[in-house]
């Protein structure tokens, strides 16, 4: 069942968004209530709701439960190649997350950290987008992006986000122009972008920090692929993002461990912004590497 509600975020601001909630499965609700406590077989991501379009309330950390977590923080079929932000800025290339200051497209190198209390757990790193000289109320806008292979879909796109003040203390997440915007852009500069929306019922509190799940159901094909874009605005502070995920339903279904329902979402496309276009141009301008791989090696006494 889809409906539109007036959603009040933690900071008291309001936004109107489509909210998708499925109420037919008590079992699913119970599993989601325990977050990852219900083992989902081959599925890796205990951080995300057990069903792509049916997140349900998740308890705060005050009720500690034992959970059975996968080794990765996102699905093995995640179309994003580096959901753990493990490639450094110098790596670049296919699948890497790169970031730029929106004003001049100067390269921005985000920090990563392991916070096991985050939705990513020990499975992958959290990216911390802290623009230089950011204050609690002012910051330079940053665009962070990666590309992914397309196909028939439909797709489910997710990421967890949280916010800190300039000193690193948790504060309420703000979405929109001054806060964080996460989008999927089509392959074409004249094509559309689709913004992920907060799923308030899936918020997670741990270590005094609230993590908000942003999600998009995209019931359409992306035949030529797409871009996953994270924009942090000029409203100050720093943003943490974790466990980004682009899933194609057929690939998830092939794992045979997750129930899927036909998408019934209301899509609100928008035009790709000029800043997003420019970031994508720079993202893909990296030269191809044609070097055979060599693993890190420390010579031993037998070398």
């Amino acid at each position: 069942m889809d409906r539109t509600v007036n959603h009040t975020l933690h900071n008291g601001t309001s936004s109107t968004m489509p909210l998708r909630r499925r109420t037919s499965s008590l079992l699913a609700m119970a599993c989601v209530t325990l977050l990852a406590a219900c083992s989902n077989g081959n599925e890796a991501n205990d951080a995300r709701p057990a069903q792509p379009n049916g997140p349900s309330p998740i308890p705060s950390a005050t009720t500690r439960t034992l959970v059975d977590r996968g080794t990765y923080s996102t699905s093995p079929t995640n179309l994003l190649l580096d959901p753990g932000f493990s490639f450094g800025a110098g790596e670049g290339g296919a699948g890497a997350f790169l970031a730029f200051y929106e004003a001049n497209f100067a390269s921005y190198e985000f920090d990563t950290t392991i916070d096991s209390r985050s939705p990513a757990g020990f499975g992958s790193a959290v990216a911390n987008i802290k623009p230089a000289n950011a204050t609690d109320t002012s910051s330079r806008a940053v665009l962070m992006l990666s590309s992914f292979l397309g196909g028939e879909g439909p797709f489910t796109v997710r990421i967890w986000a949280s916010k800190s003040d300039a000193a690193g203390n948790p504060v309420d997440l703000v979405t929109g122009e001054d806060g964080i915007t996460v989008s999927v852009a089509e392959d074409d500069p004249t094509g559309a972008a689709y913004e992920l929306q907060p799923v308030p019922s899936a918020s997670r509190v741990s270590g005094g920090r609230t993590w908000t799940l942003l999600e998009l159901r995209l019931p359409k094909a992306l035949p030529y692929g797409g871009f996953f874009l994270v924009r942090t605005g000029r409203g100050g502070g720093q943003h943490l993002v974790a466990a980004p995920e682009v899933l194609a339903d057929p690939l998830v279904a092939a794992l045979g461990t997750r129930s899927l329902e036909a998408p019934n979402a209301t899509l609100v496309p928008r035009a790709v912004t000029s800043a997003e276009r420019s970031a994508i141009v720079r993202y893909r301008s990296l030269p191809p590497r044609l070097v055979a791989p060599r693993a890190p090696h420390r010579p031993s006494k037998l070398d």
């Binding site: 996968g70 093995p76 030529y224 037998l302």
Partner: protein, 743 residues
């Protein structure tokens, strides 16, 4: 730098918690902590297998342990240890309960300055000699990525980042909703080839830059059923029978797979790892031939490994082999961060224990055919048996050397050539190291002369590799042993090699005996210096040039394009269209080539989105009159991949261009991308994200085959002759020189 104390009093046993198991969580290992859902805390079962438990409830519980951190010294990274002898000094480490403890009311907290915790009790480790044990604990982190590791070494006095053996702990999957996770290392052997553990270390990686804190709680050391892996003589072929499913065979003897490939993941984690690689191998990879192998062979085999493996050797070693058998030289599984001698993969060709580097030879005086001969040798190798240039490898563990290589190399190589016919050169380069790691005995033939090497005129040299290498691994290497040398598939250099390699591939030049210019270079990692040297070679339109690329490791398309512009003009058209996959579901679609092929001619404002989305690029000869267009070029190949595939392929068909070598190049025609580490403590692998079509124009290219998997065959197949090797003559250079002079 302070040095660790050798011994610590073990008093932590006195601090065992009072236990009462409320609920038992199903775990594949022996009963570790159980979780009390009512209290939200862990309980440590107190049974006869529990050797040590630290609950961190009181400062006294830490006495007998130590604090420590990794320190970068001049020559090594070592772990600096400070024993905890006074409860007062440990009090500040304890947390104040609540969420900051998962067992009882307190845990231990370490920040970047605090380093980590060390358990270094010989009395404890003596209890598990001849038996097996495991170490488990629970951790939560707010920044650093702490590692649990058990270190084996002969001397407990100094813990090195490169000890005798080391096994790192992994997450089991048992975690709490607020960020605590169980880590375990084990079952481990009580000793490894007689060497005992010297420390259990829980600390951030020596290479960690992250600040913040991590917490640990519920540390247990438990005896586990089973006996140590006996150090029995073994081979790769009989490892399962001799060493058992959980054992590995390295340096000719059995050892626990934990010290080579690391910990075996849980079944659920194995399924995830296998599925992620199935995703890479079927929905991400750009190499069309490899993708088909991914669907038909890799997918079912990887799922079987996830289900059936009983050791990390079987699982990770098996996956490494499967990835290699995709046959894409750009696609690699990655490697465990094992910096001991027990690292399982062959990385970097060196003369190693045999003190010899092998090359591909034609056995012209030894019955014919292709084989492995010694190209370089040191005077005093670890094996104690000096070899000579021209010695011929005749058997490895009683088998034909190439048969042995075909079976063993895919298991331990970082990547294999796309074209199996190209295996000879790369495998020859790896061979000495591979033999040292994975063979027990080798035999070589030493010919009586450069003209006599039949059965009656050769000396057979048998070398007990296993004894030599295990002695070196477990003991010391004599001081007068010759230093190891790096291996090369150049029998001789064609230009003087001076200086060390910088950011770019060096380009060395010389003048040959007939006045030809000789250029020795390894690849196309080329910036301004590389380009200026190449330009200098051709700008005056030399008549004859020998391009010695026999160790061609690839580089950048930009450099390939640059050299193409020096050597082939637009009136002799040739180019390549490089394309990514059409989608996750299929490599090709009817729209792909038509939509994106023009990107090979240059990216315009109008086409840039299409080019980038299709991962499309390429080059076409577009220079009116290149300075080297009429230069007669002899191109020497042997161990060549990637950009070193592209360049000779783009020059093929050009007049006065001739490739010399023993076999095709690798056939890796596409750009490579990095992959994240597949598991805890693993370095990432890589994957080819494109494939390529060649042609003189777009129409021809559109009808061409996908090129990956098809190495560039030499125009003249020439291999270093054994007879020439014995007298120091470089056959390939000789033949190429003659060709340059022939017209």
């Amino acid at each position: 730098m302070s040095r660790p104390r050798a011994r610590f009093a073990l008093t932590a046993l006195a601090a065992l918690v009072s236990l009462g198991t409320v609920a038992t969580f199903s775990s594949p290992a022996a009963a570790r902590t159980s979780f009390d859902p009512a209290q939200g805390t862990l309980l440590i079962p107190h049974d006869e297998n529990l050797l040590l438990a630290v609950d961190f409830e009181t400062p006294e519980s830490l006495v007998g342990l130590a604090r420590g951190r990794w320190i970068q010294g001049a020559d090594d990274i070592t772990f600096n240890v400070t024993p905890i002898t006074d409860p007062a000094s440990a009090a500040s480490l304890l947390t104040n309960g609540g969420d900051d403890a998962v067992s009882g009311a307190h845990a231990a907290r370490f920040d970047r300055n605090g380093g980590g915790l060390v358990l270094a009790d010989p009395a404890l480790f003596a209890k598990v000699a001849g038996a097996r044990f495991e170490v488990s604990l629970w951790m939560r982190t707010e920044g650093p990525s702490p590692e649990l590791r058990v270190v084996y070494d002969r001397s407990p006095e100094q813990i090195s980042i490169q000890p005798f053996a080391s096994v790192r702990g992994v997450r089991t999957g048992r975690e709490t909703s607020d960020g605590w996770a169980e880590f375990v290392v084990g079952p481990l052997d009580g000793t490894v080839w007689g060497v005992s553990p010297v420390a259990v270390i829980v600390a951030p990686s020596a290479f960690s830059r992250s600040s913040g804190e991590f917490l640990l709680d519920a540390l247990e050391v438990r005896r586990v059923d089973g006996a140590e892996t006996p150090a029995a003589l073994c081979t790769t072929q009989n490892v399962d029978a001799v060493c058992g499913g959980e054992g590995d065979c390295i340096f000719g003897r059995c050892v626990s797979s934990t010290v080579t490939w690391g910990m075996l993941p849980s079944p659920a984690h194995r399924r995830e790892i296998a599925e992620r690689w199935i995703h890479y191998a079927t929905r991400v990879i750009g190499d069309r031939k490899a993708a088909e192998i991914g669907r038909s062979f890799f997918t079912p085999a990887a799922r079987t490994l996830a289900t059936d493996s009983v050791s990390s050797r079987q699982f990770f070693g098996g996956l490494n082999r499967l990835v290699n058998l995709l046959r894409d030289n750009h696609t690699s599984f990655g490697a465990p961060a094992n910096f001991t001698s027990f690292g399982p993969l062959v990385q970097g060709g060196s003369s190693s224990v045999l003190g010899a580097c092998f090359g591909v030879v034609e056995k012209d005086i030894a019955g014919g055919g292709i084989g492995y001969g010694v190209f370089r040798a040191t005077e005093k190798p670890i094996s104690g048996t000096p070899l000579r240039r021209g010695d011929l490898l005749v058997s490895i563990d009683g088998r034909d050397p190439k048969e042995w290589v075909d079976e063993v190399w895919p298991r331990y190589a970082s990547a294999l050539p796309n074209d199996p016919e190209a295996d000879w050169g790369p495998s020859a380069n790896d061979l000495s190291r591979l033999i040292a790691m994975r063979a027990a005995r080798v035999s070589l033939a030493r010919c009586a002369s450069a003209s006599a090497c039949d059965a009656t005129s050769r000396t057979i040299i048998d070398i007990d590799v296993a004894s030599a290498v295990s002695g070196a691994v477990t003991g010391t290497i004599p001081a007068d042993t010759s230093p190891s040398v790096g291996c090369s598939q150049r029998f001789t250099d064609t230009a003087e090699v001076v200086g060390s390699r910088g950011q770019e591939d060096p380009v060395f030049t010389a003048t040959g005996p007939n006045g030809e210019t000789r250029v020795q270079f390894d690849g196309f990692v080329g910036g301004g210096t590389w380009k200026s040297k190449m330009k200098a070679v051709f700008q005056d339109s030399p008549a004859k040039v020998m391009m010695d690329a026999r160790m061609g490791h690839g580089g950048y398309l930009d450099s390939v394009d640059y050299l193409l512009g020096l050597l082939r003009g637009k009136d002799d058209p040739m180019g390549v269209v490089m394309l990514g996959r059409a989608s996750y579901a299929t490599e090709d679609a009817t729209w792909l080539f038509g939509r994106a092929s023009s990107c090979a001619l240059g990216v315009t404002t109008a086409s840039q989105w299409i080019c980038w989305q299709a991962n499309a690029s390429g080059v076409f000869a577009n220079v009116e009159t290149p300075p080297g267009v009429n230069t007669r070029i002899a191109w020497l190949n042997t161990y060549d991949v990637s950009a070193n595939d592209f360049m000779p392929r783009l020059l093929q068909g050009r007049s006065s261009f001739h490739v010399f070598g023993p076999h095709p190049t690798s056939g890796a025609f596409g750009a490579v991308g990095s992959l994240p580490g597949v598991w805890t403590n693993w370095s990432g692998g890589s994957i080819q994200i494109q494939d390529s079509r060649f042609g003189s124009d777009m129409t021809e290219a559109s009808n061409a085959r996908w090129e990956s998997g098809h190495g560039v065959a030499p125009d003249t197949v020439v291999t270093q002759k054994l007879s020439d090797a014995i007298v120091g003559v470089d056959t390939i250079v000789t033949v190429a020189t003659a060709w340059l002079e022939s017209q």
